[in-house]
């Protein structure tokens, strides 16, 4: 199969490029070879998806090393390759050929390779090994790039949480392997305890890796501190591979799940999307804010997945396939615009240093290409037509609407709530990205360094602009992909390829016509506006003096929402006024929106664990004799248990 060859050659090129990157002389060539390899991965993957063919081995439950590729793997290889090309081309300008930069460059190649390995793994062993490596490699990248205390702490959280919760992935995959159910949905019967156990274990393990709330706390810690192109790969691709795992287990291998599991997935999607975007709104550092938006978008994807499971349980197979396709379309779209935004943030960071939102401003004038592409990404993630985010959110809304449309009071109410949640999420994302784009790109520069920012070199710009181009193309013609995505559901055939989204028995998204009309109208009106423009005047502001210290801030712009949601968010504020002899000398104000998941959910658990560790320490005497005694006691207990028949 030629697409399999493309994937294999691509993988080899990424590996070779990674090695070349280690040498100072061949540093740029190495990154370029890696980028070419990624392009081959993308071509091979998309080819497999569109042709809907498989190559290599089929799935096996045995522990033999097997690799192969099918449509679903192909789709995610396409995502990995496309984001990988942009990130690596970007990296040729972003990384310096110092020892540190070379190591990061090589590790980037390794990161791409292990992710590709997860996607082509066809046996449980390869899958699990690659899965763990996919967690560890970015941790290594972060530790190479930064060795300060907060970064080490964040990496600890990241590795600890993804491994603790990641046990769920092992439980799910090993149970499936034991039953011989990997790749065979007919083995495990619907509604059996085993099926439910596997599904729940997968939701915990893979959900944590994807950043589904409430197992998300590692994500906003780990993603912002990685180098920009690795952040792009983590937010754009790595968490999507966890979605790949979820689709494999929940949709491909477990057959029809009971309806309540679908409703549980729907609830997780609502929680992640709404809470993700709400917490994103109150972040004041660009990369951390983007990380919270990844949680939101994973939530939107999970909403589509939940709709798919509910509809499948109800026997509405056609719409279940469409809901899955909507979720996968949003997966592609989020990969594109989120990696675009992370790469853009990386460019801004290189140009001006700190990414504190209140201290940027006016960057679109200093960096027109990066700035314009960033603006496209902001509009796409806000779910605005005619860009790709809108297309997939529209398809997800349609899927959610069809949950109540097929009746059933309980499921129907859940579907309607999810529908409202998604609409509110889109509006919240618009609020957030008006803030982000305004504070970074528009208005006056807010500190000295920003007013001297320079556009980055061509490689960095071209990676970002290419991603923006893909956002526009998939926004204008999402139907190019949707037809094949419908065919990825094991019970469904591919739908015909169109330009817009043509769903059966409901409205149609004429994305091409809408894009054309918007551009034509806006262009015509802009021309009609005429060239007759009066001389520029300073901001009027109803006669108020416009002073820099009175500039609006990130916290100010989101204050109305904070006040509306005060009962839920419980913001903290502290005002200290220092007066001397009745004259105010100094006023200090501090306000923050605490992350309630961390404070109410995780802190008690970690405190309890520390308490437990404190008690357990008494058992650790450090004397060999004591440990031998422990062993002896354990053996005796096991023997006694066996004798009494407790062990079966």
């Amino acid at each position: 199969m030629s697409f399999a060859a493309s994937v294999l050659v691509g993988g080899a090129a990424v590996g070779t490029g990674g090695l070349l990157t280690l040498l100072r002389r061949t540093f740029v060539a190495g990154l370029t070879v890696q980028a070419v390899g990624c392009a081959l991965l993308a071509v091979g993957g998309i080819w497999a998806l569109v042709a809907d063919e498989t190559a290599g081995n089929a799935f096996t439950s045995a522990f033999d090393l097997r690799i192969g590729i099918d449509g679903l793997s192909g789709l995610f290889l396409g995502i990995l390759g496309a984001v990988g090309v942009a990130a690596l081309v970007f990296a040729t300008g972003y990384l310096e050929p110092s020892a540190k930069g070379r190591t990061i460059g090589a590790l980037t190649g390794l990161f791409v390779l292990v992710q590709a390995l997860v996607l082509v793994a066809r046996d449980p062993l390869t899958f699990l090994v690659a899965w763990e490596a996919m967690t560890l490699v970015p941790a290594a990248v972060i530790l190479v790039s930064r060795a300060d205390e907060p970064a080490r702490r964040s990496v600890f959280y990241y590795v600890a949480l993804t491994h603790l919760a990641g046990a769920g992935t092992w439980v799910a995959i090993l149970l499936l392997a034991r039953e011989g159910a990997i790749g065979d949905p007919s083995v495990i019967s619907t509604g059996s305890g085993l099926q439910v156990a596997i599904a729940l274990a997968a939701l915990v393990g893979m959900g944590a890796k994807a950043g589904v709330m409430p197992l998300h706390v590692w994500l906003p810690l780990a993603h912002p501190i990685a180098p920009a192109h690795v952040s792009a790969l983590m937010s754009g691709v790595m968490i999507k591979i966890a979605i790949y795992g979820l689709v494999r287990v929940l949709v491909d291998w477990l057959g029809v799940l009971p309806e309540w599991l679908g409703l549980l997935v729907l609830a997780l999607g609502v929680l992640s999307s709404v809470a993700g975007v709400v917490y994103a709104l109150f972040q004041h550092e660009l990369k951390r804010l983007l990380a919270f938006h990844s949680i939101e978008n994973i939530g939107i994807i999970v909403l589509g997945l939940g709709a798919c499971l509910v509809l499948r349980a109800r026997g509405e197979d056609e719409w279940a396939a469409l809901a899955l396709a909507a979720a996968l379309l949003h997966t592609v779209n989020h990969a594109l615009f989120k990696s675009l935004l992370f790469l853009g943030a990386g460019s801004f960071e290189k140009a001006v240093g700190s990414l504190e939102l209140d201290r940027l401003g006016g960057l679109v004038r200093r960096m027109p290409w990066t700035g314009a592409a960033f603006l496209v990404g902001a509009a796409a993630i806000a779910g605005l037509p005619p860009l790709n985010g809108f297309a997939s959110e529209w398809a997800t809304l349609q899927s959610l609407l069809h949950v109540p449309a097929f009746g059933g009071v309980g499921a129907g109410i859940a579907g309607a709530l999810a529908l409202a949640a998604l609409a509110a999420t889109a509006a919240l994302a618009a609020l957030c990205f008006v803030k982000v784009a305004g504070l970074t790109l528009l208005g006056p520069a807010r500190r000295e360094a920003v007013s001297h920012a320079e556009e980055r070199a061509a490689p960095m710009v071209s990676g970002i602009v290419a991603l923006a181009g893909m956002c526009v193309v998939l926004g204008v013609a999402p139907g190019l992909l949707l037809g094949s995505l419908v065919g990825l559901a094991p019970w469904s055939d591919a739908a015909p390829t169109t330009v817009g989204l043509d769903l059966p028995g409901t409205g149609v998204l004429r994305s091409g016509g809408i894009a054309l009309a918007l551009v034509a109208f806006a262009g015509a009106l802009f021309l009609l506006r005429g060239r007759r423009v009066a001389a520029p005047v300073p901001t009027w502001a109803c006669g108020q003096l416009v002073e820099r210290p009175l500039d609006w801030t990130s916290a100010g712009f989101t204050k109305p929402l904070r006040l509306v949601l005060e009962d839920v968010l419980r913001p903290e504020r502290e005002i200290v006024v220092r007066a001397e002899g009745g004259v105010v000398q100094e006023v200090s104000y501090e306000g923050r929106v605490p992350h309630l998941f961390e404070e109410r959910l995780y802190r008690p658990v970690t405190a309890l664990a520390m308490e437990g560790a404190h008690h357990a320490r008494r058992m650790q005497s450090g004397r060999l004799g004591t440990y031998v005694a422990y062993l002896l006691a354990l053996v005796l207990v096991v023997l006694a248990a066996a004798k009494l028949g407790i062990l079966g």
Partner: protein
């Protein structure tokens, strides 16, 4: 194209583009009368548009292309919305589809363009308005999508033409689902048109502005485009209210004949509400719209129970 199709296309385009300012004028006119003032004639918005169109545009020093493009983008997305919303169940597809959820999308784009331009001029009042508008929009969009969802469930599609047909006659109104959605949509109408109790279109206090805030720095043709867009929003939501969320006849010709009467009546209703109700505290508006969302949700529940 049949006669009914041609007629509804004509009404849709002429009404959406040219008659929309009259709706705003009517509300202002009646509001003044109800308050015991003489007030401007209903044609005052046209005079203002003509005056603004004749004036030159003023660019704020330092503002870039985003600021200059915003009025055109806003007007263009509202124009696409005008193409989307049919006036009768016989309207043909005008190339942009007929989908109800797309309507929410293009209205969001219009809002986004104006709000983002507020950052360009760093005018505190503009940003205050933008921030409030987007905050309230969170609740408006949830309520709007849920209200549209009820109508979509009743008529079995999100295609607006089929929704107009599906909610026509008396049968669809036999159970209270659609009526609940209509109450929710009424509150959405108030918010989208920027009227009391959510917003005050006639305010002269910058601190109380929502929709007017981000428009403060614009002049000339830019302002004309934005004012037209605000008027066209009136047309869009009132036509939807008349042809989906209020009982209407099944025959397309009758629908077209009744539409002007209903639109005028709805303008009167807006004028009466504006006279009777004071503007709400800004932070209470989300609660009001939250109630709208809950009513629409109740509509879904009623529909589900009826369908079960």
């Amino acid at each position: 194209m049949t006669g009914a199709e041609a007629a509804s296309t004509a009404v849709q385009l002429v009404g959406g583009i040219a008659l929309a300012p009259l709706l705003v004028g009517l509300v202002q006119h009646w509001k003044a009368r109800l308050q015991g003032r003489r007030g401007p004639t209903p044609f005052q918005p046209y005079r203002e548009l003509r005056r603004l169109w004749g004036k030159s545009t003023v660019d704020v020093a330092g503002a870039g292309v985003v600021y200059r493009l915003a009025p055109s983008v806003t007007a263009a997305s509202v124009a696409v919305a005008v193409l989307l919303v049919p006036v009768a169940s016989a309207a043909p597809d005008l190339g942009v589809g007929r989908d109800a959820l797309v309507l929410a999308g293009v209205l969001a784009l219009a809002r986004f363009a104006v709000a983002i331009a507020a950052w360009e001029v760093a005018n505190g009042f503009a940003l205050m308005g933008a921030s409030r508008d987007l905050t309230i929009a969170v609740f408006v969009e949830a309520a709007l999508v849920l209200a549209l969802a009820v109508a979509a469930l009743v008529s079995g599609t999100t295609d607006l033409v089929l929704m107009v047909a599906g909610t026509a006659g008396t049968e669809a109104w036999a159970d209270p689902a659609l009526a609940l959605a209509a109450v929710a949509f009424a509150l959405v109408v108030v918010a989208e048109t920027g009227r009391q109790p959510v917003d005050n279109p006639d305010t002269h206090l910058e601190l109380t502005m929502i929709h007017e805030g981000p428009l403060l720095e614009y002049a000339g043709r830019d302002l004309a485009l934005l004012q037209w867009a605000a008027a066209a929003r009136h047309w869009l939501v009132l036509v939807l209210a008349a042809q989906v969320f209020l009982p209407h006849p099944t025959d397309p010709w009758l629908q077209l004949a009744v539409l002007p009467v209903v639109l005028v009546a709805l303008c009167g209703a807006l004028a009466v509400t504006e006279t009777l109700v004071a503007k709400m505290r800004i932070l209470l508006a989300p609660r009001l719209l939250g109630v709208a969302a809950l009513l629409a949700l109740l509509g879904v529940v009623v529909w589900l129970v009826e369908a079960a």
